[in-house]
């Protein structure tokens, strides 16, 4: 019986996999996409329009399951979308959390929607400060892809004329709240920027998608699709071509190779039957998210690839970077005490940010190289978390909570770790998951440079808060646990030199022409900015390069 051979097998349906699927299907290629988890049904699975008191367990699920929760987005509102079955391990001394959304669409169902473009300050950072190497792609090359993505998905912002944070094609921005104007005035006096964030959320209807209705519950899943996610924006277009077969509950195990060592397909575990299944294609795209993609490729051992597929550089799994997150400052704004409540919580607080202002002209102006951004937040949040800091009890306590309700502010840093030999993932030599597959083992520690950024942010944010007329109350003792940001990068770095990089400048592995990678694992490092829109832009470029290779006859059947 002739086995079916697709044109492309795509592992993963997040930003990277999703963009690849849509692009390839629309170009006429037959795609089989495999996804580790199930489809989500917004009507059943997104419960955010229910109030906490409607939820059986107050939005956080049975307490026995709650103990395994990853945090704010892994709760009763979106249960069964986050993976708790596949373990991972850490090296001694490493702390790491690794939330994985294995439902179709991955983290795009719940992401923070901050969508700034990388600029040359990021892509050419090494030329500026001498650390590490430049990316093999310039801003001029990637800019048109950012523009096409912004037009596809809809991003709300303003033109800001700051090359370090390049402008794109934008919808009208979210309006500033009271706290934004107050903090902006403080930032202006201190000399740091306070600007509308690039928020991938629809302030007006866009490409057939409805505008946002400002309910503030974005990260528990939008049931109207008013912000980009693969299931709302990309899969319908792919499915309309009739070129897509999507297999769910399919956990990718390894990439198959032919006798020439080229990719021949993917072996996966059907999570319902627990059986191993093979699916064959002329090319394979791995887009399972940074650490998981490297895990799959490291587990793809064969005679030809004893150290993992396409790993002649030895860099597979290495160069892991993450964003350091932490509460740089918190306090309150006396100007807002006793004011009527205001919808500060809309857009789930992705309204304004303080984009990187450090080392813009002189790369060594600060005690650290590169730079970080800060996300301010506050005002009338859905729960008055500050109440536990108010003194006393009784009527005065109740009144004081109401009085302070509009006033709290906090500042959250987003700082890039530097690429380092100590930070990487590999396969645990002993531990296997329930399907017998070796698990990922993470080795990670914050470097001195990023910790200096953390200290710096605490000083600046306290100064901004005070200058804005606010009362400073404290900052986080420590940064959040590594992995918390969900922005890890680096495990399949792209570069021009096959000896030191896993993929080339198009995300195609150096070793195997028909094996490509479409997620943040190809990024050399984190920047001050988030990753999703860049994953979309780079994946679009990689997909079109793959299509071109097909047209040139490079990926024929084995």
């Amino acid at each position: 019986m002739a086995k079916q051979i697709y044109d492309v097998i795509v592992i993963g349906t997040g930003a990277g996999g999703g963009m690849a699927i849509k692009t390839l299907c629309e170009a006429g290629l037959k795609v089989c996409a495999i996804n580790a988890g199930r489809r989500l049904d917004p009507e059943k699975d997104f419960r955010y329009h229910r109030m906490p008191w409607d939820m059986k367990f107050r939005g956080l699920d049975d307490p026995k399951r709650r103990r395994q929760s990853f945090g704010y987005m892994d709760n009763e509102y979106t249960k069964a979308a986050w993976d708790h079955e596949i373990p991972f391990t850490v090296a001694p001394g490493t702390k790491w959390m690794w939330p994985r959304c294995n439902a179709v669409g991955g983290k795009t169902n719940f992401w923070g929607r901050s969508s700034a473009r990388f600029g040359d300050i990021d892509l050419r950072a090494a030329s500026r400060d001498g650390y590490d190497v430049d990316w093999p792609v310039t801003y001029d090359e990637i800019s048109p892809f950012y523009t096409r993505v912004e037009k596809m998905i809809g991003v709300a912002s303003t033109v800001q004329n700051r090359p370090s944070n390049p402008d794109g094609s934008y919808l009208p921005p979210f309006n500033f709240r009271c706290l934004d104007f107050i903090l902006e005035a403080g930032c202006n006096k201190v000399g740091v920027p306070y600007l509308p964030d690039r928020c991938a959320q629809l302030t007006q209807p866009h490409e057939g998608h409805p505008a946002c209705h400002f309910c503030g519950e974005c990260t528990t899943g939008c049931d109207v699709g008013a912000f980009f996610s693969t299931p709302y924006f990309l899969l319908p277009k792919a499915e309309a071509t009739k070129n897509l077969e999507l297999r769910t509950n399919a956990l990718a195990k390894n990439v198959l190779v032919d006798e020439n060592g080229h990719a021949a397909g993917v072996a996966y575990i059907d999570r319902k039957t627990k059986q191993e299944v093979e699916v064959y294609g002329r090319a394979v795209i791995v887009g399972a998210s940074c650490i998981e993609s490297a895990r799959i490729m490291l587990n793809s051992k064969s005679r030809r690839w004893p150290n993992g597929i396409a790993n002649s550089s030895g860099q597979l799994g290495r160069n892991l970077c993450d964003h350091l997150y932490g509460e740089s400052a918190r306090g309150y704004l006396p100007q807002l005490l006793g004011q009527p409540s205001f919808p500060d919580h809309v857009a789930d607080s992705t309204i304004a940010w303080m984009p990187r202002w450090q080392n813009l002209k002189d790369p060594h102006a600060e005690k650290f190289i590169r730079g970080y951004s800060v996300y301010p937040d506050g005002g009338c949040t859905e729960f008055p978390w500050f109440a536990n800091d108010v003194d006393g009890f009784g009527s005065s306590f109740k009144r004081e909570i109401k009085r302070r309700y509009p006033s709290p502010v906090s500042f959250g840093i987003q700082a890039p770790s530097l690429r380092s030999d100590t930070n990487f993932m590999d396969l645990d030599p002993e531990v296997k998951d329930p399907y017998g597959i070796p698990v990922a083992r993470v080795h990670f520690e914050w470097d001195e440079n990023v910790l200096k950024m953390w200290e710096h942010s605490k000083q600046v944010c306290a100064e901004v808060l005070r200058t804005a007329g606010g009362e400073f109350e404290g900052s986080g003792q420590d940064p959040e646990i590594p992995g918390w940001s969900l922005h890890e990068t680096g495990t399949c770095r792209m570069g021009n030199d096959p000896k030191n990089f896993v993929t080339n400048r198009f995300g195609q592995t150096h070793d195997i022409p028909n094996l490509y990678v479409c997620d943040a694992s190809v990024f050399l490092n984190c920047t001050d900015k988030t990753t999703t829109i860049s994953i979309l832009a780079f994946s679009l470029r990689t997909s079109e390069h793959l299509i071109e290779n097909f047209r040139r006859g490079e990926h024929t059947a084995a």
């Binding site: 956080l60 409540s341 937040d377 109740k398």
Partner: protein, 203 residues
């Protein structure tokens, strides 16, 4: 991930020991909502709540404590919102906190006996408040009462959680999450970005 308040995760960690069921048959006052915004109707189910963890005597203390912490005083308080039911259900579902609550209540009775010769619920409201003030107000703290202060902190945190995730609590704050909005909400204070001249809010 970007832009998510750090505190939100902490809130949900607190809420994580919370459990309240709109469908749970035992609640008499705890849940009020009948569905979506705009249609919410106050409903009090007639049945008496039977505690799952606390004894009747303990439960009566918990109810009184929630009332003292967030009283009914012009606007509904923790008692109307059934916060005691929430706390009992939460503690019943979370073995890790049970010892602390039980021992804290015992401490409070022993403390009342020592101070006033009677158990906590036998005191007058004024005496109860007087007993609790050194546990809840920083400027009234006394040495030797660390156990009591820690217990009171736990009770207060649970009361705050239970109250402000109820519809009564949402209305108390005029929580903006009770509404949707047709357009991106904008600061109404034109011409005063530093908000130096906003009308002084109510205290």
């Amino acid at each position: 991930m970007a832009g998510q308040g750090i505190r939100r995760r902490e809130v949900l960690r607190i809420l994580g020991t919370a459990a309240a069921a709109a469908q749970f048959p035992g609640f008499s006052k705890w849940t009020f909502a009948c569905g979506h915004i705009g249609n919410a109707v106050l409903q009090i189910k007639p049945a008496m709540y039977r505690p799952q963890f606390f004894t009747s005597a303990e439960y009566a203390m918990v109810e009184r404590l929630t009332e003292v912490i967030i009283p009914s005083d012009g606007t509904p308080g923790a008692k109307e919102a059934g916060v005691a039911e929430f706390i009992d259900f939460m503690v019943a579902s979370d073995p890790e906190v049970q010892y602390g609550f039980r021992m804290g209540l015992a401490w409070l009775n022993a403390h009342a006996e020592q101070a006033d010769g009677r158990r906590f619920l036998e005191l007058t409201p004024a005496q109860q408040t007087f007993l609790l003030e050194p546990l809840g107000f920083k400027d009234k703290m006394r040495p030797g009462e660390e156990t009591g202060r820690e217990f009171f902190r736990m009770m207060r945190e649970s009361t705050v959680t239970g109250f402000y995730t109820s519809e009564i609590g949402y209305k108390e704050l005029d929580n903006p999450a009770l509404k949707f909005y047709a357009a991106s909400p904008e600061c109404p204070h034109k011409g005063d970005p530093e908000h130096a001249h906003v009308p002084q809010g109510r205290s």
